[in-house]
């Protein structure tokens, strides 16, 4: 099986690896040690120390904070229990009229605001745009991903997951 130096994985995930090397990695057998190298790279970049259990976005991770598992932004902002939709704890900016939609989809590129609005979910800590939903008015916010952490660690990675001591922590 393949395995790559951490420096290669770092360049790869940052989009800095030349395409011919990326292509070679994509065409080869998958590197089974990828996940922990990935986590290690992300962990060393964070300004906080909680253990990353699972990245769930470009800037979001599920981390172990004491006895709790929470969603946390790279900047340190915490969104609460990972089993709840982090979007509900975010800031939102909604483009739901011709003017605001036209700012980024001008003229013939626009959608009809009475049929579709653009929802921007923003981190309250660093103002990063974390997700965008395009949905008709009234469509419930989507809970993108609820991982089965226990099965992932125990059965797929063969590593123990830090025990959950209590719901409240």
């Amino acid at each position: 099986m393949s395995s790559y130096p951490t420096s290669v994985i770092r360049d790869l995930i940052d989009g800095n690896l030349p395409w011919h090397e990326v292509k070679s990695i994509m065409s080869d057998f998958k590197d089974d040690d990828r996940f922990f190298k990935y986590i290690e790279i992300l962990q060393e970049r964070m300004p906080w120390t909680e253990q990353i259990l699972l990245p769930i976005g470009e800037h979001l991770s599920i981390v172990q904070k004491g006895s709790r598992r929470i969603v946390k932004c790279d900047c340190g902002h915490e969104f609460g229990d990972y089993r709840q939709n982090w979007k509900l704890q975010a800031l939102i900016s909604v483009r739901d009229d011709e003017q605001t939609i036209g700012e980024i989809y001008p003229g013939r590129l626009a959608c009809d605001p009475s049929w579709m609005e653009i929802r921007e979910f923003i981190c309250p800590g660093c103002a990063t745009l974390l997700e965008v939903e395009a949905a008709p008015p009234g469509y419930p916010i989507v809970f993108d991903f609820l991982p089965d952490l226990e099965t992932f660690y125990r059965d797929w990675l063969g590593r123990p997951l830090p025990d959950e001591i209590s719901e409240e922590g």
Partner: protein, 749 residues
Amino acid sequence: MAQPTTPKTQGVPKQTQRVPPGSPVVQPSTLQERLQQNERQFAEKGCYAGITDLTLREDDPIKYESLHTKLRSMVVSAREMARRISASPGVREVGEMVVALYTPEGDAISLSTGIMVHVHTTSRFIKWMIQNGYEKDPGIRPGDIFANNDAFIGTVQVPDVMDVVPIFHDGQLAGWAGAVCHELEVGGITPGGDVYLAAERFTEGLFVCAEKVGANDELRRDYIIRCERNLRMPIYWILDEKAKVAACLEVREKLKELIDEVGIEFYTRACKEFIEEGRRAQLNRMRQIAVPGRYRGHTFYGHLVKGKPGVLAIANENRLYAIPLEMEIDKDGVISLDFEGTGSWGYHSMNCTPAGMDGGLFVTLTQHLNYDGKVNDGAWLATRMNLPPGTWTNPDRHTVATATSWALLLPAFGIFQRLLSRAFLSRGFKEEVFVGQVNSPMVEMGGISQYGKLFGCALFECAAAGSGALGIKDGLDTAYVGWNPESDMGNVEIWELAIPMLYLGRTITPDSGGAGKYRGGAAFTSMWLVHNTPELILATSEHSARVFDNAGLCGGYPAPTAQRHYAVRDSNVRELGAQRECLPHSLGPDPHSTHLERLVGGRHEEVEGPYIAAPLKSGDLFAHAYNGGGGYGDPIEREPQLIVRDVENGYVTPELAGALHVVALELDRQTDRWTVDREATKQRREQFRRDRLRKAVPVSRWIERQRQRILDRDLVDEVKNMYGDCMQLSSRFKDEFRSFWSLPSDFEL
């Protein structure tokens, strides 16, 4: 014979759909019994055809792998050979063809490149014939040729015409060779293959319903006559038929030689092991690069036909479709897709059968998970799909039209690609993250050709849309569609031979890719001068109106896919040419006006959604825009130098570079080169973040305000109707909708 009513996959895992565990054991003597036995064994043992051990692979791996490589080589070379027989630029130029080899029971063993979506739909076709007693009547004999384009039996849409021939070895059925071509003309109510105006099956064109169309290796003359008399452009269909038969016969003869070489017992066992190995590889791949759990996503599609010419009263309504998708990855790596919450089928051509949904699933699996090793029906066996009865994914009436099923199918499986990508991202395989495919609206036409004859054609340059972004780089510009990984738009000169239109331009469409740290691939726009014809009927398809039918990922924006069509009738373009004035070659970079309006005189038309109108004629102009892909990541994290390249090459306008990517660009008018002011960009982006925080509100507050809007039912009719439809079909959606907005338990829309 069984009636083609409600298919059997709905609502249950397809692995257990037909024969429950514990059914009495039947010693297989007929093909039908062998099929039942396979299904029973799968239900009981969870492995393909009772193959619990890959003994041939273990005992003689060289012979085993060598056989697989030879099979793969056979189908690939047969496709390349057959493409040269076809007259259709869709097959010859764009490669809208696939060839595959099947077991006697109809499971795919090996497949060529091309439109792999049809590998599993052909499997459905073969199984349907077996299940419906074809062994007895009309009989399955050496030299027979069977054809089908009925999506309720096994294809995606009416233009996807498939042919299969049985392969006998020493008097025993050893398998099937199959080939599919996408036909450019099917004789429907509107010309072309996708027949956008078809409201029911009865206007979709020429159907061949699991029919024996040939014997003794020859297509029947009466079948050819039927094609000649019912199609606008029979040469495409008929020569494609000959190409497919040639491909199948080539595979058959080569396979017989191969079986003589390895022995029928080895061959038969090895094929079963190939499929079982494919199933296991799929599960292993999931455990290797994904994360178990529940994933959700959605997209939407706007159907705008009300009042357009030719629309029947029964179909005369605009609709908004919700396409929600939930994906569960379980501890074994099995993927379950659930389309509960989507809308009902309708009197339009965009419905899809379970066979078509299987095709969409299969082609996605082969591109994102099962792309190496044994690519066959094994991957499909490791997945489940819930297609709620009565929805567009599983119409409960076989007279429903499906000619444009890609309109909803492509957005639906674009969600699947995004959901898988969330799993890849979590696992660290960012290079596999893909924001997904988009719809690729097609221009179809008929009338009088430039040669003065009746004609019909689907312009397949649509097979080169922009792709969604990747997690580490931009999407592909004008180079990807989901249904054919060998995406190709074809040469302008070849299309000009086939249609009475001359290209004034094919141009990258500015701002057509979704914005993001990595932007979606850009699309292109074509502009034509109608040429040498008194009557050109145009009908476009798969064009979402008013909503975007794709999405971004991780802060990326969707691509703008609700575009319009532009035509100019009685234009003065010839006078402009004679006077050496500027001609329009594209719509131009200004989204508020077009080069047509600015440069050309005549009667201007701007049509929202699909273009269905009175015929055009020589001297008229027409423009059609394809779709770009969704973006990945926050656009203000995009490397400024990449935006310089985007602007200089026309992928992004300076206006949106400023508005979305927040960069400080400067144009040197003497050199016509752009540069970026990095310090100013940094400051602008910091200010932009502060502005974001100032303008945004907590989601909880927004929900409060929106809740009142829902209670007041302050929504346009199409949106209200969409919710009412989804609620009627899904109590789960209804409960979740009420719960999310804290609505009364009896709230309806």
